[in-house]
């Protein structure tokens, strides 16, 4: 339907297919004995042979077989590898629940400031006043945005935040004498949720979704008892739908003594619009690499800070940056009185926190709300653009993402969600998240994010529509089975990789 959606100012899409094809040898294959890149400063220290001091029993007899390559070949290799990789900087990345928005370049400058990046973690507090202030400020911003009281930045990713949050719930309940041991999660939840619940020493109770794609309140009421330690939810949920009964759900869980855990995977939908604390949540983790635009790095580093209500603040991991009441405005470390202990070797992915704080300050209260506003508008506009061609199982107003289904297309034509995903690669886009959430057959979970222009969103809609039309054309649907053909490699033999794992060169 996008031909009806004319944009007033013109413009074209900004997204292009990946370049680079053929194969690239491994770094080991470039190796030639005696070649090298590295050089060392003239330190003036005499170089000792370890064997002259240490027992030869300790020492290896041959050097580790690292590749021997010139710097030019090294740079060529990794530049070619980079050309075989899709990225946000290259084009749109509408992976649902991943929030692959544009990562501002100024944050790279922040992370590169020597005053931040060259600081040793064991420095005394007198030398790290800037870092401590930064962490305190980031905590204040995050607590305001989420409606919480205090936060830790130690968790290095969302899953680490989940486990930290669950250990906080455990410690809090044990402190109150509760033996509750069950955590409720919706059937639409991300896989890290149940895995974290198990690692937190709890049992998983699953609550089904109702016909509107929301938590089934009646089913929830049936499983609530004093054995329930808490409930983990995202809101909006993984279908992109706002759980409109959230305050009632929170009341019900609180009534049996349980706590409410907010998985911040979808926080980008609600900045300045709704706050987990106001909804009734007690523990909130955020993914700074999603909502606050720190780069995902091909799979990390992330940052998964956990913010809590005042009741749980005393249990947070320590040490934690704080303002000192010294009248001089100085900062220091504190260990909360009932702390669960450390969850990171140092203070978390600190430079990621610095990037996120810079993003929050840049956007401010108005910019953060605008980010969510446009994320939600883009998602709804995209959904309306394609809903004549794709089933939308829960087709109300969505938040920052929605889930389409290729169930009917598959039934009619044999073309699967996976084929649709792969076909997008040759049309200049990354795929949506496929086959998740598990409660939707042939799910395509689509999150355009706010940083894609309407031209790009429209081009994505056109590509999806084109694919849906081709699927229904017996002449052309074979191309979808064969896709992608223009990428550096085509579909992989994944079974072979698992059957005979070759994990090292």
């Amino acid at each position: 339907m996008t031909e009806h959606f004319d944009l007033p100012g013109g413009g074209v899409a900004s997204s292009s297919p990946l370049v680079g094809s053929g194969t690239e040898p491994t770094i080991f294959e470039f190796s030639v004995p005696g070649r090298k890149s590295s050089s060392f400063r003239n330190s003036g220290v005499d170089i000792l042979d370890p064997a002259s001091v240490l027992d030869s029993n300790f020492l290896r007899s041959t050097e580790v077989e690292l590749p021997e390559v010139s710097e030019r070949d090294l740079v060529g290799h990794f530049t070619r590898l980079a050309s075989r990789q899709y990225s946000v900087d290259l084009g749109a990345y509408p992976l649902g629940s991943c929030t692959m928005k544009y990562n501002p370049k100024f944050a790279d400058n922040v992370a590169g400031m020597p005053g931040l990046s060259a600081v040793h973690p064991a420095s005394p507090t007198g030398l790290i006043q800037g870092w401590l202030e930064l962490l305190v400020m980031a905590e204040e911003y995050l607590c305001e945005i989420t409606g919480m009281k205090a936060a830790t930045f130690q968790p290095a990713a969302g899953a680490a935040g989940e486990l930290t949050g669950l250990l906080l719930i455990r410690a809090f309940l044990e402190h109150t004498g509760s033996k509750a041991n069950k955590i409720i999660i919706p059937d639409s939840s991300h896989g890290t949720n149940p895995a974290s619940v198990t690692l937190g020493g709890f049992e998983v109770l699953t609550v089904p979704s109702d016909e509107d794609g929301l938590v089934d309140i009646e089913a929830l009421a049936k499983i609530l008892d004093d054995g329930v330690a808490g409930m983990m939810m995202t809101n909006p949920n993984t279908l992109g739908l706002f759980e409109v009964k959230i305050t009632e759900i929170a009341r019900m869980v609180h009534e049996v003594g349980g706590l409410m855990y907010y998985d911040g995977a979808n926080l980008n939908a609600i900045l300045g619009i709704s706050r987990p604390g106001d909804m009734g949540f007690d523990v909130v983790h955020s993914n700074l690499h999603k909502t606050f635009a720190t780069p995902h790095g091909g799979g990390g580093p992330g940052s998964g800070p956990v913010a809590v209500s005042s009741a749980l603040a005393d249990f947070l991991p320590g040490p934690k940056a704080c303002r000192l009441n010294d009248g001089e405005g100085k900062f220091g470390w504190e260990v909360p009185p009932l702390s669960i202990g450390r969850v990171h070797s140092h203070f978390g992915n600190a430079l990621v926190v610095a990037r996120a704080l810079a993003y929050m300050i840049f956007n401010g209260s108005d910019g953060l709300k605008m980010a969510s506003d446009l994320a939600v508008l883009n998602a709804n506009w995209l959904k309306a653009s394609i809903d004549d061609y794709y089933e939308i199982p829960f087709n109300g107003v969505c938040m920052h993402e929605f889930v389409a289904s290729a169930r009917q297309i598959k039934k009619d034509t044999g073309i699967r969600g996976l084929d649709i995903a792969k076909s997008l690669f040759e049309r200049g886009f990354h795929s949506p998240t496929v086959y998740f959430p598990l409660i939707v057959e042939e799910a395509l979970m689509i999150e355009p994010t706010e940083t894609e222009s309407p031209q790009t969103v429209r081009a994505l809609a056109d590509a999806l529509i084109d694919i849906a039309k081709l699927a229904r054309d017996p002449e052309s649907k074979g191309a979808l089975h064969d896709a992608p053909t223009t990428t550096p490699v085509r579909r992989l033999d994944e079974a072979r990789a698992a059957r005979n794992p070759k994990l090292v060169f």
Binding site: S38, L54, R60, G272, N380, R490, R496, A497, K502
Partner: protein, 448 residues
């Protein structure tokens, strides 16, 4: 204010009109009153890029980073090495920086192949066949190793040497609150683990440092013998620079070898992002946490790479998964792989010898200062000293003289003389003149 939202007002109006809406907030009409935030967030409004950079710079200026004004002799798992410009530049390519987890291999061969090379490189360092695509940090890698050992042996008691980083020991206890594992610390004799006191009966693992946090090279052969008798796994926390010269953990019988990978070309970064190295024997491959990248072919027979053995992972096994790791430290792992390739075979060995040599020169000088005593017997790149004055005070006074003197051991050690000792290192970056000046300054500080 600045913004990364590209939409013009006219475009927003048109899009809303397409949806039959008047204004943006109409999109939230279905939110119930109790859940709708009607105020404005109590944080300042947005600013320009220049403003935010000025502000972040003002925070950065309130720190005293390592460098010419604060010459770093501190380690404790975070080391001040020279960087490779090529490695930094290659790891900063936006294709690596701004990509997602490589779930769609056709468009992620860059990250996947780089991770495959990373796994191969780290397996050569650790001497163990299987390496995952990284974990968050050294401490997390140890926690995951303990979890693997418990799952593999069906036992729940984990023995951990007090020679291991006190922060890692605290982490393993934190996570044991959930796993229910029993964590037992093994005492030290001097700076090394007192293996004569160890009873491994019914233990899932013995975790030991190599060299340990205090810099001491532990007797892994004896540790391995004890593990073999009892059926416990030997988990070694190694230093990736030292093992360029020392025998690898794998060669000495480690079942799992983990490490903090920061010293492989990663800036000090106030403690993160770093990366956890995790390697295991091939027989444990199906219990390894995190992502594994494997080689395969595409439908045209071309060599290609894909995440594999995925059925171990949380998104498939859900509550039955033994680890919840999803996002890891991929970019830092790629950076480490490029740095190791830049070092190359001879450079890696030379780096290690240079760290060893500088540390030995430093230790020889330190031991000549009255009242200062080196506590180690066999050390490689770091050592602990007993001081005649408080170590925390020493670090503060040395900072006034332009040195980050070391890591003052405050927590994790109650035993004398380790409590209040100072942990010192000198990397390849330290010159003889810097070391001589450090020794002079330390002599003055402890004499007062």
């Amino acid at each position: 204010m600045g913004s990364f939202v590209p939409h013009t007002d006219a475009e927003i109006a048109e899009m809303l009109s397409n949806l039959g809406l008047q204004e943006i907030d109409d999109l939230y009409d279905h939110l119930p009153d109790g859940a709708r935030f009607n105020g404005e967030l109590s944080i300042p409004v947005g600013v320009s890029e220049a403003d935010v950079l000025d502000f972040m710079d003002s925070l950065a200026r309130k720190n005293r980073p390592t460098g010419r004004e604060l010459i770093c002799f501190a380690g404790g798992g975070a080391y001040d090495h020279d960087a490779s410009a090529a490695a930094m530049a290659m790891a900063s390519q936006s294709a690596f920086v701004t990509s997602y987890t490589p779930y769609q291999p056709e468009v992620a061969q860059g990250v996947l192949q780089a991770l495959f090379e990373y796994q191969s490189l780290i397996s050569r360092l650790s001497g163990l066949e299987v390496t995952n695509a990284s974990l968050y940090d050294g401490g997390t890698a140890l926690v995951e190793a303990a979890n693997l050992a418990c799952a593999h042996t069906g036992r729940s008691r984990v023995l951990i040497s007090r020679g291991i980083h006190p922060n890692y020991r605290q982490m393993i206890k934190t996570y044991a609150r959930g796993s229910g594992h029993e964590v037992v610390e093994v005492a030290l004799s001097g700076c090394s683990t007192d293996l004569s006191s160890v009873s491994l009966n019914g233990a899932a693992a013995l975790c030991i440092g190599y060299p340990n946090y205090l810099g001491e090279i532990e007797d892994l052969q004896e540790a391995k013998r004890l593990c073999e008798v009892s059926g416990a796994l030997l988990v070694v926390v190694y230093d990736p620079v030292s093992v360029a010269s020392l025998k690898s953990p794998g060669e000495l019988g480690a079942d799992v070898a983990v490490a903090e990978g920061q010293s492989l070309g990663v800036p000090l970064s106030f403690g993160g992002p770093y990366l956890g190295l995790f390697s295991a024997k091939s027989g444990l491959v199906r219990s390894v946490p995190g992502r594994l990248v494997g080689e395969t072919v595409d439908m045209e027979g071309r060599t290609s790479y894909v995440t594999t053995l995925r059925t171990r992972e949380q998104d498939i096994r859900r509550e039955k998964a033994s680890s919840n790791v999803c996002t890891n430290q991929t970019l830092i792992a790629i950076q480490a792989a490029i740095y190791l390739s830049w070092l190359g075979r001879s450079g890696y060995a030379e780096l290690s010898r240079r760290c060893f040599s500088a540390t030995r020169y430093l230790a020889d000088g330190v031991s000549l200062i009255p009242g200062v005593k080196v506590l180690n017997r066999n050390f490689f790149r770091e050592f602990a000293v007993e001081l005649p004055i408080d170590a925390v005070l020493t670090v503060e006074q040395m900072a006034d003289r332009g040195f980050l003197a070391g890591v003052a051991i405050k927590e994790g050690y109650e035993e004398s003389p380790l409590e209040g000792a100072l942990l010192i290192t000198a990397t390849e970056k330290r010159t003889r003149i810097e070391i001589d000046n450090y020794l002079q300054a330390l002599r003055e500080v402890v004499a007062k």
